[in-house]
Symmetry: C2
Subunit: 179 residues, 2 copies
């Protein structure tokens, strides 16, 4: 590829619990070199669950990086790199909302920040919902609110859903479902 950058030296600066930070030296298409800060992340899955009345269980969760609560679709990290994303999606839906789904549709991969991070979030539409018990992680605090998909899609179109994966996945699901 004409615009390809080739990494020729990779240095790990930090390895933590949810991310790793590398500094890469890359050769550019013009023969010069540049430094690239690269965040590694195991990846995640996020789900638009829709019940028979067209309602979506949304998760309201405090995000300390942003300093406020955000309204998001259910989502969570892979347990390890290479986990089957559908297994991750089933687990996170159950943990955060207690829901099981009879029907799963893959909406596609969502890459939040391709400029510096390798994270991929796999997006799903989940239907045929049945309620069980939720099971949050020890450090996870959230509330679930059921809202009409139609209203959420209007909010996303008006720029009132600020979480990127949530806005993208709601609008993708709406196109699939003709909402």
């Amino acid at each position: 590829m004409a615009n390809e950058e080739r990494p020729f030296e990779k240095k790990e600066l930090y390895s933590g619990s949810i991310l790793t930070l590398d500094l890469w030296q890359v050769s550019l298409p013009n023969g010069k070199t540049a430094l690239r800060e690269i965040v590694h992340h195991k990846g995640a899955a996020a789900i638009v669950p829709v019940d028979e009345q067209g309602r979506v269980p949304m998760v309201r969760q405090y995000r300390v990086a942003i300093g406020r609560e955000m309204l998001e679709i259910p989502a969570g990290k892979m347990e390890k790199k290479g986990e089957d994303p559908l297994d991750c999606a089933r687990r996170e839906l159950r943990e955060e909302t207690g829901l099981h789904a009879g029907s799963w549709t893959y909406l596609g991969p969502y890459i939040p920040s391709p400029g510096y991070c390798d994270e991929v979030v796999h997006l799903y539409l989940a239907q045929g919902l049945s309620q069980g018990e939720n099971d949050l992680d020890d450090d996870e605090f959230l509330s679930v609110e059921w809202l009409p998909l139609r209203e959420l899609v209007d909010m996303a179109a008006q720029g009132r859903i600020h979480d990127g994966k949530t806005a993208a996945a709601l609008l993708m699901a709406a196109r699939r479902l003709g909402v």
Copy 2:
């Protein structure tokens, strides 16, 4: 807020050219503590430019973090935290495509990764386009391809636009324009 996490100790682990990595200790709603890895980023702007024929100048760019080329809308980082995002959007549109726009509509803020990063990308719709000269950064290599908005929106709905901000912004612009 019932679910709030309060940071009580912040340690900077790395300060680089495009991002800073912190390790925060936070107190949880149940009184326990947890560690949070937080990436700071200056923020960015991204633009859906649409010409009078309904075509969009898309940017094809190699993303070394992902290891392949990606198809994205024009976008770029703020020069400093707190820059007027519309100034950033005008500059990035001109630098990457050479285009000026007579009409700007704010689509909303897009937060790529609220779980660990404070980056906000401000999304715009730009119309009334006129062509000038582009002006890329020294380490920036990309090609511009004009594609119909209608086709791009179908691609986004089918999960074939993998860059998150691009998928979200195209679907938001389509709802605004009735495409």
